[in-house]
Symmetry: C2
Subunit: 330 residues, 2 copies
Amino acid sequence: LRIDPISGRRVLVAEVRAGRPNDFLSNPSKGPSTAARDHDECPFCRGHEAQTPHSLLEVLDEAGQWQVRVVPNKYPAVSHAVPDKSDPGDDLFAYEAPLGHHEVIVESPEHVRDWNRLSSAEAARVLRVYRDRARWWSNDRDTQHVSIFKNVGSAAGASLEHVHSQLVALPYVPPNVATEAVRAATHYATHGSCIFCDLIEKELAAAVRVVAEHDQWIALAAFAGRQPYETWILPREHSARFELLSDGMIDSLAVLLCDLFDVLGRQLVPLHYNFLLHSAPVGGEHDAAFHWHWELVPRSTKLAGFEWSTGMHINPLSPERAAAQLRCVV
Amino acid sequence: LRIDPISGRRVLVAEVRAGRPNDFLSNPSKGPSTAARDHDECPFCRGHEAQTPHSLLEVLDEAGQWQVRVVPNKYPAVSHAVPDKSDPGDDLFAYEAPLGHHEVIVESPEHVRDWNRLSSAEAARVLRVYRDRARWWSNDRDTQHVSIFKNVGSAAGASLEHVHSQLVALPYVPPNVATEAVRAATHYATHGSCIFCDLIEKELAAAVRVVAEHDQWIALAAFAGRQPYETWILPREHSARFELLSDGMIDSLAVLLCDLFDVLGRQLVPLHYNFLLHSAPVGGEHDAAFHWHWELVPRSTKLAGFEWSTGMHINPLSPERAAAQLRCVV
């Protein structure tokens, strides 16, 4: 793990990842379709379990067959297993050991590409695995933050098309989450309230960026979305940590997400996206000010020189127009 | 211009840009080749000047024909021309007027795709135009920072393949440059020296990330590069502001850049990249601590959920290995 002396950016140099298999390499315009001919070589399909490391967790059906499977990432970006060879560095060239845990959640034994092929019961089963793994790592004494994310389609950086997600447990709070946590804490100190709860209240009153509304959930076109149709999903009642989610809440979240992916998949063809869980750092000190949420970022426009140079974003579709197109009352 | 209440991110919602022409839309895997059949419809080719706004500057040859041409961006991300319709906003939903100037530099009258088809004399002519437009906007009383960047190839966000760059003059310092300026000022306050000058000295001594070395210039594989082969080009002698560059320096820079693009183009096929100028904010207060430079970022790996969620990067090629592959003494 290197820290850029000029910008402070944190970069994991992980040459092991250059060896990853890639469904999309030979045909970069592929991506949207499930390809039966890929099944034979897919390391995530049932029967190919020997191509991945041993399972850390399996959800079994009544016949004892796995339905969801968690394995260590074979090409980890972070790891506790690697001996620390880091250079001592100095004030300009700063190295840190690339510590952490990197897992893959295989979300179906079948070679399907996305949640639009799962029932809401199957999606709920996957969400329970997310919750249980997040809870597991939250109880690890070295872990400060747990990230869960999903890459779907080549434009979103997916290397394999079989439906799956990744979990990264880190011994520090990553920069984007740290920024959110600091700003949330500042808002809490000033207003005595959670900034996300205040946001939900204002968005419900304004009613121009609400994509879906449910007793327990709200989906919003992000006020300053980075990409067209960027949508955030939040629990309406204050909760800082995803790992505390109840089974009942998971069932209703699964229904909302399946509907949302269905609507998005009809709006954006092909739908390539990242789906990002932001939960509070572990330990409880952020529990009053932070509010966990999913960020669903479709990847229909490229980041270009303007974004890389300035750190700002250009979004060619207003969030209000996006919400009007997606709005579905669940 | 909207400011995200949770993260503080600045996002330009610019629906006018959804109407841009796009050479790559129908065939996303295209990009590397110059396509003669596109010439007829290319708004940047000689003879098609009526398809762009009027020139702001033209460099003419002896026959009075333009060789380099600067025009206002027809689909600007920022503008002083648009009346301020911004919502007053509030503490959660903050809007600012999307002020600024957005220009396009058409770098050849011929339909060539990249600098590898230009001579170093032609490249120097382009660099002089960059310098002159940067100088122009640095003297504008509303401008705080001038960005110049180039997107080449669809993976780098280019919408047109005809060789060109963009300039954005902003009435504030954009976040990434502001971060660099703050860190450079902190280093200067602590060490009494420019952090970039110190970096150059250490890199020359270490000699493991030097890609090219010249009396006046150095090209380095960035210590914490975000992408494989990310390369920075800096003047060896301290200089904060690109717009003060001399003609003699431009000639030697053109030779270095042409060589560098040539080497990169052989290493990465196709070569899609962003080329980003970071110059000090205008006004002089950063002149001692800041050091202007180009960041050349090939775009061979996608930003995926990990990067979007955490704000960290994963680079599957070590900068030392990249430098060894690219090293060319100019």
